[in-house]
Symmetry: none
Subunit: 215 residues, 4 copies
Amino acid sequence: MSDVTENRAAERDGRAPHTARGEAQREALARAAYQIIAESGFEGLRTRDVAARAGVNIATLHYYFATKEDLIRGVVDLLIQEFATFRAPDQPPLEEMSPSEGLRSELEDVRYQIKARRDTYIVLFELYMRSLRDPQIREMLREMDAGWRGHLESLLIAGVDTGDFSSDLDIHTTSAVLIAFSKGMAMQLLSDPDSVPVQSVYDEIARLTTARDSS
Amino acid sequence: MSDVTENRAAERDGRAPHTARGEAQREALARAAYQIIAESGFEGLRTRDVAARAGVNIATLHYYFATKEDLIRGVVDLLIQEFATFRAPDQPPLEEMSPSEGLRSELEDVRYQIKARRDTYIVLFELYMRSLRDPQIREMLREMDAGWRGHLESLLIAGVDTGDFSSDLDIHTTSAVLIAFSKGMAMQLLSDPDSVPVQSVYDEIARLTTARDSS
Amino acid sequence: MSDVTENRAAERDGRAPHTARGEAQREALARAAYQIIAESGFEGLRTRDVAARAGVNIATLHYYFATKEDLIRGVVDLLIQEFATFRAPDQPPLEEMSPSEGLRSELEDVRYQIKARRDTYIVLFELYMRSLRDPQIREMLREMDAGWRGHLESLLIAGVDTGDFSSDLDIHTTSAVLIAFSKGMAMQLLSDPDSVPVQSVYDEIARLTTARDSS
Amino acid sequence: MSDVTENRAAERDGRAPHTARGEAQREALARAAYQIIAESGFEGLRTRDVAARAGVNIATLHYYFATKEDLIRGVVDLLIQEFATFRAPDQPPLEEMSPSEGLRSELEDVRYQIKARRDTYIVLFELYMRSLRDPQIREMLREMDAGWRGHLESLLIAGVDTGDFSSDLDIHTTSAVLIAFSKGMAMQLLSDPDSVPVQSVYDEIARLTTARDSS
DNA sequence: GATGAATGAGCATTCATTCAT
DNA sequence: AATGAATGAATGCTCATTCAT
């Protein structure tokens, strides 16, 4: 009767729960959908299976999410939450790292998560594909990407300030490269974890932030 | 390691057509499926729609492709064929370019195609996602990727030989970085064509092949 | 044969409210159902919509009406009440009219109400159709019709007594014709208000009560 | 292979059958729907039951009628066909009757059919109610009614010509009264076959066509 | 009295696939 | 080589009703 610690994301769509129990059910359903997407993609997402996995009747699912689309938006909320929360363990808090260590940590994080949270990345890529056709999801992911980009850029700026990174670093270009590279590497690792020599690749990428000889 | 360019069409699966007209019908169906996947993803792929778009009866589709899976393999064949064939126009033939020009051209090509052949890339990424669950498709894409990697690496080796690229270039690492970056950038451009400052990003990437200061 | 005007409300079915507020809620719900039937027929009657229109929870509806059938009986009660109450405005009270004026007024009333209370007639006809399958509703409507018939017949008898109507008038036949005609005209007017030249039709009908030439 | 004697009504809606067998199936389905509506009204119309009664799979029903609405239009077609075809038996052909006999026969017909073809009238009234909300059905019924009205009016005109009917007969008014009366009587007889003393009522109605004393 | 949560049974419709012709 | 007809098994969603609070 006092476990009201859940976040209130997703209150915008579908039918909003009014009690703590309802809120928990709603999240359980979104999480079930999340897992099924990870296992079988959107193609394999059936509302009935989601309900069954959450241990409720199909009608109960529709009590919380008016439509399948609503449910999927609930999954996006979950994913955003997930990306905001997790970091590779055994890493010092970001505040205590130098910018170059921070960048490395950032990349390490992708690599760690692709192993430890494979599901998260599969769902993320499924959503990227879906966002090509669904403006609502496109907007949600765009926001998420913007957050990531902003974080990277402030890290790069800090690095330039401290002298960790080359002073003539083009912030926008570099962040674009880093993001593109991260996404691509994530996709590679998803397909085949051994297809990328991760350590040396990271070294290579790190070079992009160092001083350049000529222009 | 050098039989990548052959075209083994679709003789292996389902029912093989015996006439030229039959072969054309088969391809028309696969192409229709291809377009629908580009528009609506695998989620939106309905055999009836494919048949309708190809202007034939649904039973006729099943005459050429026993199952939906067969049809999808037909789409993969089409895609592989497409990637083997197309290059950005107004480019000198690869043989006449220096390795560094060739690399640049390679990257330019991705960028050009993502605009001119958006469909191709959407289908490709849809297939990458599907390959996570479908071993048969995984194998087909792995071959395709291996071909690409091989091509890139021979380009890099040639560049080291001619002195275009740094002599201490790690071929494997660099090709891995280039592929990861290309895939990630393709995905970025697919979502939002303006999200990547393409020229400066290419310049940055080109730096990876130049001499390093030993750090 | 003379207890037609009593109002046995809804005390028989389901759960009876015990307070004035409860009684009001109950009627509000029946009225909401009434409106929805008028708009969408029985086909379109959903308990949830009824509850929503009455501004209460679906569970509250079931507190007042155990089942949907109960609710519908509540609607019939409302309808009977309505027919007992309304008359066209600007008409002198029935007691002050001559029988022939009374008859005319009766017909006028149908015409007036079909315009002013379209809903009432739609619900009435919906109930007539439903009564073909639902004995309970059949009985309720039969009572209502008997009341109407009795009223008409006493009007006709009075007219014969006063000499307004032909002395050889067959009371039963004439009331049957008048009722059949009224229902049919109501249905016509419901479908298309301009399909009946009302005034001349009334004149024609009035002739039925005048002397015959013995043929 | 030569029983192509069916009518081609209903080819406009849904998916049109291409073979004689298909045409027969289509009609069988519409007829099954017709019967179920007669038994349980639109409220009780379930596509599954229709398919079951026609002895086919539910998917087969949708092969012939894209939607439930389409199916209902098929029922209207059937009904119109029915009304165009049937007349009370043991009646001389219309051409050999005098107009007054023809009118009587017309009324008799309603009475006969309400007994012999109760279903037809129930479905008709169900459709009248539905037409209040469905413009497409409204139009179809309006046409049917116009046909009936036209037929009645030509009968009345013929009667005036032959002297069977009063020369100052108002054709439009009389046909309106006759139609309204017929519909109303049909509804009465549907509810309770004994509620109308049919013979004397017909005599009464016949009077409307005879000469009038004053105006 | 009133409500949020929950459900069993059902509903129109879809979809890949089959088969006789 | 092609098609009209047919189907089993879903599929997303609805609806009247129940129950604990």
